[in-house]
């Protein structure tokens, strides 16, 4: 048993799943439940969106979240707010220390801009998101894909306004715990990006647990 499960042995884990790189996952998390995302091998981006389960148009808002906490990075104590100002989830544990929410998700189209035109047919997070939402029978689509959270990604901003994807602060086994403050739907793409050194060009699995 890996060390990151030890402290959960006495808990009633409802769900325990390994999400391979390049795969997506959409799942309900009920109010009061906790979702743990484990970066099994380190510096792997968990691109995440959150929806109010009872009103999916009321969804995670990166801008409202960072303005409310006056800080661009997410960590323990960060309250993840919706566009209606509702509290969706709270980060209650974080062994990584800093997560990005302004860098967005990779897409076929943005890869052509960021890297080169011939990257258009590589797999991407937004294709993964779309694959999940068109198959979930939950009336979500491209319009519902907005600024997401990149758990375990480090996107530092300098005071003079430079922004770059930097080497990660995460490592094998680091995790983040998200407590649902209302019934939510969580959408995760385990990022398949092969053009960026932030994951050492090697996408790896994530472990997802709910209790």
């Amino acid at each position: 048993m890996s060390k990151n499960t030890v402290e959960l042995e006495s808990c009633n884990v409802l769900f325990d799943f390994v999400l391979d790189a390049g795969e997506s996952w959409i799942h309900d998390v009920r109010a009061g439940q906790t979702l743990r995302i484990v970066d099994l091998e380190g510096n792997q981006s968990a691109d995440t969106l959150i929806y109010n389960a009872n009103d999916p148009a009321d969804r995670y808002s990166a801008t409202d979240t960072i303005i409310a906490q006056r800080n661009i990075y997410l960590t323990t104590g960060s309250r993840l707010l919706s566009i209606e100002g509702n509290l969706l989830m709270t980060i209650v544990n974080d062994t990584c220390g800093r997560h990005d929410t302004i860098g967005g998700a990779c897409s076929a189209e943005s890869n052509t801009v960021r890297y080169s035109l011939d990257k258009k047919f590589m797999h991407s997070c937004r294709d993964s998101f779309l694959h999940a939402v068109v198959n979930c029978n939950c009336h979500l689509g491209k319009r519902d894909l907005t600024s997401n959270i990149n758990f375990f990604m480090n996107v530092p901003v300098s005071e003079n306004g430079d922004l770059n994807f930097a080497d990660g602060l995460s490592g094998p086994g680091k995790y983040v715990d998200l407590r649902a403050d209302m019934d939510v739907k969580v959408l995760i793409s385990n990022c398949p990006q092969l053009n960026n050194p932030c994951n050492a060009y090697n996408p790896t699995p994530l472990r997802l647990m709910i209790w």
């Binding site: 990166a62 303005i67 990075y73 967005g104 430079d162």
Partner: protein, 237 residues
């Protein structure tokens, strides 16, 4: 070079509006009073599923803010508009917009019955009203640009609002690279420390212009923008 003015208009403080800007036209926005904030969102008029994307805009250009030479990317790897000129050196795009709660908490509620058109309006409701005129709704509400506002982040990520970022008469010129639905709300920035409800008016001028040439400032800002222009021009061939 003669410049053909297509139309002129102004937007009072606390108001909202929406209109179409065609490819190869410029929208010049002037902050008449200074220290204004103009909330803006952009949608491809020919396919409104394609819209401004804050993250793609920032990471393609390795920047936390927008200024002369930067472009506004859609979520489809294309350029909605380019900042071909700006006397103001920092435009914010990470702060979102005010809503009922933020306006009421800071400035109190003031309704139409009491104040007529000086009532306290918030940017989110203003934008949603405009979006609905084009068949759009909450699902189309995304991170916006706050023209004329400056917000910095320190090494710990803590945000600071920088006052006096825009002088009276400061302007920004946006050249549209596709046919774009523009949604505007002249609403104070959410981090504006002023305790007074005092949204600013803006002058709007639409000009005819030529397409971005091979030596265009925005096209050549970074290799990413060269590819962004290529992707955009493909749909107009």
């Amino acid at each position: 070079m003669s410049v053909k003015v297509l139309w002129e208009d102004s937007i009072p403080g606390g108001s909202h509006g929406s209109f179409i800007m065609k490819r190869d036209t410029i929208l010049k926005v002037t902050d008449i009073v200074g220290n204004g904030n103009l909330v803006a969102l952009f949608y491809n008029m020919d396919n409104k599923l394609e819209r401004y994307n804050m993250a793609d805009t920032l990471k393609a250009q390795h920047t936390f803010f927008l200024s002369k030479g930067n472009v506004c990317y859609s979520d489809m790897g294309r350029i909605l508009c380019s900042i071909v000129d700006s006397s103001c050196t920092w435009h914010d795009t990470i702060s979102g917009m005010s809503n009922t709660e933020t306006i009421t908490t800071k400035y109190g509620a003031l309704n139409y019955q009491e104040a007529r058109n000086d009532m306290h309006r918030n940017a989110q409701d203003s934008v949603l009203i405009e979006l609905s005129k084009w068949g759009l709704d909450r699902r189309d509400l995304v991170a916006n640009v706050n023209f004329f506002s400056k917000v910095t982040a320190n090494a710990q990520g803590v945000l600071s609002f920088v006052s006096d970022n825009s002088k009276p008469g400061d302007f920004v010129e946006l050249r549209f690279e596709m046919n774009v639905l523009v949604v505007l709300a002249s609403s104070q920035h959410v981090l504006d420390p002023s305790p007074r409800y005092s949204p600013n008016p803006f002058a709007l001028t639409s000009l005819k212009c030529s397409s971005a040439g091979p030596y265009d400032l925005c096209r050549n800002l970074c290799p990413e923008n060269g590819r962004g222009f290529y992707n955009t021009e493909l749909i107009f061939r």
